[in-house]
Assembly symmetry: C2
Homo-oligomer: 138 residues x 2
DNA sequence: TGGTAAATGCAAATCGCTTGCAACTATTCT
DNA sequence: AGAATAGTTGCAAGCGATTTGCATTTACCA
């Protein structure tokens, strides 16, 4: 097999069903975080249509296994992005057209320690998104 | 008058109604970001009950005027926090009990320029939240 | 004080997401 | 290969957060 994501699924006692494989493929092919509705839409286009409920259930499961990560932009819906094999990074979204771009940087490695010292929390993860205007929108 | 928030409302052609003033008071008295439902609840307790719809409409309006700011923790609901007169800062939320704490720091002043150079977006704002475990939860 | 634009409350609608359940299907065990 | 079974799926219904339509009320400027 030799596919770390599939191996992780097996290790978790998950079955490699047709809808699941199609959903995973779509997630892996998307360079940017996508919503459940978008996954569902792309399934249709790829003639592997699965129910939207199935999409939600698989997204939840993949997130639990740590294979995908939620990304939020205050849009009223959650986007997801594959984690495996991709470097930790953040995003910027255009306030005009909603376009999202990857931001291959993270200034927080050093800061985490400071946050832990100040708050006495154990920091587990963080979310960082930028908002602004893309070249086309202004 | 001499209240910058009220002045901003007037400048926007907004009326200073009773429900609105009560909502504003609650937001200003909350040291941490709160949800629409929480505002609504506290209105009741303060015997200034207003409809939940009114709360939502006012939150949307205050956000448009830039007087309050949304804060998201992937909770399925949006929290809001007064901006005026408070220093720019971020938050950390406990994955166990949901408790939120202020984090009076922002490592992004310098970074914004780099982001703009790299993406060609004009950066307008950013959101940064930390997640972890508070002392009580572990 | 009256006129008017804005705001409110109520009911109903919408949206993103979750749950219950009966019908399937990938895997595992003979 | 075939049966047993645990995990999955689709459909219908449910749910919580937020929005919309509309008739009624209210702040506030002339």
């Amino acid at each position: 097999m030799r596919d770390p994501m599939l191996e992780c699924l097996k290790a978790g006692g998950k079955k490699l069903t047709k809808p699941r494989m199609a959903i995973l493929k779509i997630l892996r092919e998307s360079p940017l975080p996508i919503t459940a509705a978008e996954v569902h839409e792309r399934l249709k286009k790829a003639h592997c249509a699965a129910d939207l409920v199935t999409v939600y259930r698989n997204l939840a499961m993949l997130q639990e296994l740590g294979l995908i990560e939620p990304v939020g932009f205050h849009e009223g819906q959650t986007r997801y992005e594959v984690r495996h094999g991709r470097r930790h990074h953040h995003h910027i979204q255009c306030r005009g057209c909603g376009r999202i771009a990857d931001l291959m940087l993270c200034p927080l490695n050093k800061l985490t320690e400071l946050v832990e010292r100040r708050t006495r929390f154990t920091v587990d993860s963080h979310a960082l998104e930028f908002f602004g205007w893309c070249p086309e929108c202004h």
